[in-house]
């Protein structure tokens, strides 16, 4: 068995295990950490496919930013998960039906003729040593998908505006600094010179 097959199977098994843990463990923090494990293994498998850029982005964005944020939320909000799990038995039949439907759909998709057939994806030839993944992705983003790339940026901008518009509140009694006033302040406004009579030293 070649080494990359061993690597593939090991990481796939870890990934599946992590994914199962996400939904089975009771503690939400452990669930979030299992999700990190899942992302990590997925990124290793991407590495195996020679898509280094996407693999690193997956770790940076999902593990580094999204999951850490998620952990923060889980820890800070102190969500009680037990009520969320109520009615498990009651919703089980519906859940099983949906799961079976999804599984059936996936099977139909995999067996249908076309691009999802295993035969339509031959093993790609290894890229030359100096091949740069990042450059290829960048070239596509800024040429073929230019419009999509720009619009995605606008969507993020709107998300920021919306978040600020919905949460920014100026409380009436709040203490805020006004840099402009602070800079323009005159000496007279802050320093008061007081004339005092000299007092005799005490105790002498």
């Amino acid at each position: 068995m070649p080494i990359y097959e061993i690597v593939f199977y090991v990481f796939s098994l870890v990934m599946l295990g992590g994914a199962v843990m996400v939904i089975t463990v009771r503690n939400p923090v452990y669930a979030a950490l299992s999700l990190v494990l899942t992302f990590f293994s997925a990124s290793a498998i991407w590495m195996l496919l020679e898509v280094e850029f996407l693999a690193i982005i997956l770790i940076l964005v999902y593990v580094g930013a999204v999951m850490v944020l998620f952990l923060f939320v889980v820890m800070m909000l102190d969500i009680n998960v037990d009520p969320l799990k109520e009615g498990f038995i009651r919703y089980l039949p519906a859940g099983i039906v949906v799961a079976l439907l999804m599984a059936g759909e996936l099977l139909v998709v995999m067996w249908s003729k076309g691009r999802f057939e295993a035969g339509s994806y031959p093993i790609p030839a290894a890229s030359p040593v100096e091949y740069s993944n990042t450059k290829a992705v960048g070239e596509l983003l800024f040429t073929e998908y230019l419009l999509a790339f720009e619009v995605a940026g606008i969507v993020l901008l709107v998300a920021i505006i919306a978040a600020v518009a919905l949460t920014l509140r100026q409380r009436p009694g709040g203490h805020r600094q006004n840099p402009s006033l602070q800079v323009r302040v005159q000496r007279d406004e802050r320093v008061r010179l007081v004339k005092m009579k000299p007092e005799p030293r005490q105790g002498s």
């Binding site: 759909e105 998709v109 040429t143 073929e144 998908y145 230019l146 999509a148 969507v155 919306a162 518009a165």
Partner: protein, 481 residues
Amino acid sequence: MNNGNMLLAAPEFWVLIMACVILIVDLFLSKERRGIIHMLAMLTLVFAAIITARGDYGTGGLASETAFNGSFIRDSMGDVLKLFSYLILGLVYIYSKFCLRQFRMFRADFYTLSLFALLGVMLLISANSLVTIYLGLELISLSSYALVAYDRDSKMGSEAAMKYFVLGSMASGMLLYGMSMIYGATGTLDLQQIAAAVSELGSDNYLLIFGLVFLVVGLAFKLGVVPFHMWIPDVYQGAPVATTLFIASVPKMAAFAMAFRLLQTGLSDLQHDWSQMISILVVLSIILGNLAAIAQTNIKRMLAYSTISHMGFVLMGLLPGTASGFGAGMFYVIVYSMMSAAAFGMIILLSARGVEADKIDDFKGLNQRNSWYAAVMAMVMFSMAGVPVFVGFFAKWLVIKAALDAGLFWLAIVAVVFSVVGAFYYLRIVKLMYFDEPVSEAEIDAPVDFRAAISLNGIMMLGLGIFSSSLIAICMASFGA
């Protein structure tokens, strides 16, 4: 690598630049001078209209042209829909300025968010690839979620925004799932290439059909047709009336364009399949929308159910897959947006002292308080009900005629019967206005631009009805019918 003539997207660039300008300018304005924001927004719309209407910076005038590697298309349908989007957004701004001032919510956020939503509408109208469709849609949705929660202290508003957000995200997910299947089957995101690949694959490909089902579900969510309509009444009722006015008018035109691009440009070979799915949606929407509207006492909720039935009619135009059907659908959606803008404008007009006039009873005896406004509202209601001479009648008539031409007699019969049922609740408003005693004697007062806009909007219902042929001709010509 061929980005083509990027200037085709000049109106989009302009709207984007101005939205950012307004965002910055607002930081430097004191509270009293925020009126400038309104003027800037109106200016944006006027110049966008001029840029769009010039139209000859492409080579071929009205011929369709693509740019950005085929992810953006400019054609006459897109141009007409964009022009009407500017017009209706202009009305929305005039109405909502009055409303926002009254409710002490006059902030620049409303303008920036709705301009970004307009940008989404324009991109969606001009989308020629699955990615552009999805991104345009997300731009509209994100801005709309924030606009629904615009009144931050309103519990109803927050609840509505939450429902809208959760269901909207689910719909986006469905749409993406369908898109991924279509992409998997055809191997391309470009709608024209998808059409070519579909005709090669044949219409009995399982993968394509599955993808189509999810696409139609996502579309139905966004249009708000039965059985994916649950969010519409709650969102319309819970959102501040200025927002309801916006989300009930402009984005509907984008939704129509999106349905046309996805179903006709991309998947016209599957017309047999999607017309079956859509006919179910149409029948259910027209029946449920009209029946449920009768039971409402809140006029925003009543108009929400009426929207559901109107969207059923719009989809009915798409159903036959013929050029005249698409033209009818487009005419319907434009007319609907105008009627909806006028109806919500009237609610804003009657609202006073920070209380929304969202009860049907608030319209009681309007004729005695101000007979002109009562006449305007009556014209809008007659038009919505589809009374002849008013423009709503021609919209319904064209759509039903398209269905009849395609041999869909039972569908036409359902549509006619339930239009008559629906006429009941529209005419009830007219009856309340003319034959009931007013609940309040308060003077109805509004700024002059508001009065001019609502009067014009009301007269358009009658004027466009009498001179409907030119607008119909424009819509039909967009599809070469």
